[in-house]
């Protein structure tokens, strides 16, 4: 009896693992400075921050490169978060978190955040070139 096993590349796994790792890197490199400046130093008026005034905030948000940056900053880490929270639930004994419905909920949630972010960035402030 021959024990032939057909190996198929797990493309879905590859994509979500890639998004998980990239989301982790982006969150590690970029989120602390945003939280420190926009969440603490700005509100305490220690330093002037771009989102403290309507004019400067809207001017920056109209830049297409800023929109692209914000999309990456907000959307990609959610694929990392989805993976981590799902496996944390598994570690806490929620075996349903391993199943396909849970994957649809968690990774679908990350896709939903991505779509909402795109919508917000495209509809909030018009793109201004130059």
């Amino acid at each position: 009896m021959s024990a032939e096993v057909q190996h198929r590349p797990a493309y879905t796994h590859l994509i979500f693992w890639f998004l998980f790792s990239q989301g982790g890197v982006i969150a590690a490199l970029l989120i602390p400075v945003h939280v420190l400046i926009q969440g603490i130093l700005g509100p305490l008026t220690v330093v002037p921050v771009v989102d403290r005034h309507y004019d400067t905030w809207v001017q920056v948000l109209g830049n297409p490169l800023v929109k692209l940056y914000l999309l990456v900053l907000i959307a990609v880490p959610f694929f990392h978060f989805a993976h981590r929270i799902r496996y944390l639930l598994v570690d806490f004994g929620v075996h349903a978190a391993k199943g396909t419905p849970a994957q649809v909920v968690f990774y679908g949630g990350a896709v939903a955040v991505t779509l909402v972010t795109i919508w917000v960035l495209l509809t909030t402030v018009p793109i201004r070139l130059g």
Partner: protein
């Protein structure tokens, strides 16, 4: 091997008379299973387990803060009369707690890069410690650039 001795040797074709390895003495077909379950408080019993859970949990506060940022962007479309950035004590306290989790995520995740990333330079493997140091340097550089942009364009 004679025919008489081969009759006592179990083979895949001669297992009918042998007891099932899954069924010991006194266990019938209707035996009850007792699957092992992780104790609910497993993560509080060991320091390493606790910090592992903290590391995984960092995803929750970071996600909440990014959702706040998305709301802040959306509020940019409210117009100059209605736009008012958050500056309450509760928001600053929330951000401070998120910052602690964010720093822990950065430290733990970037520390792993030396283990995960395998690079070669001039046909020799780059030392993992150098890769980790480079990632921490990248973190510092990115923080300076982003911080500069957030402050400079506020003028």
């Amino acid at each position: 091997m004679t025919e008489a001795t081969s009759a006592h040797v179990p083979s895949p074709h001669n297992l009918a008379g042998l007891p099932s390895p899954r069924r010991g003495e006194g266990q019938g077909e209707g035996s009850k299973e007792y699957p092992w379950r992780m104790p609910a408080a497993w993560w509080t019993r060991n320091r390493h387990y606790f910090f592992y859970v903290v590391r995984e949990f960092t995803a929750v506060p970071l996600a909440l803060w990014l959702l706040w940022l998305l709301v802040e962007i959306k509020r940019g479309g409210d117009g100059p009369g209605r736009y008012a950035p958050h500056q309450s004590t509760a928001f600053v306290l929330f951000s401070f707690i998120v910052l602690l989790f964010a720093l822990y995520h950065s430290y733990t995740f970037l520390s792993l890069t030396g283990v995960i990333i395998r690079l070669k330079a001039f046909d020799r493997p780059v030392p993992p410690r150098l890769i980790t140091l480079a990632m921490f340097g990248l973190w510092a550089g990115a923080s300076v650039v982003v911080g500069f942009v957030l402050i400079w364009f506020a003028r």
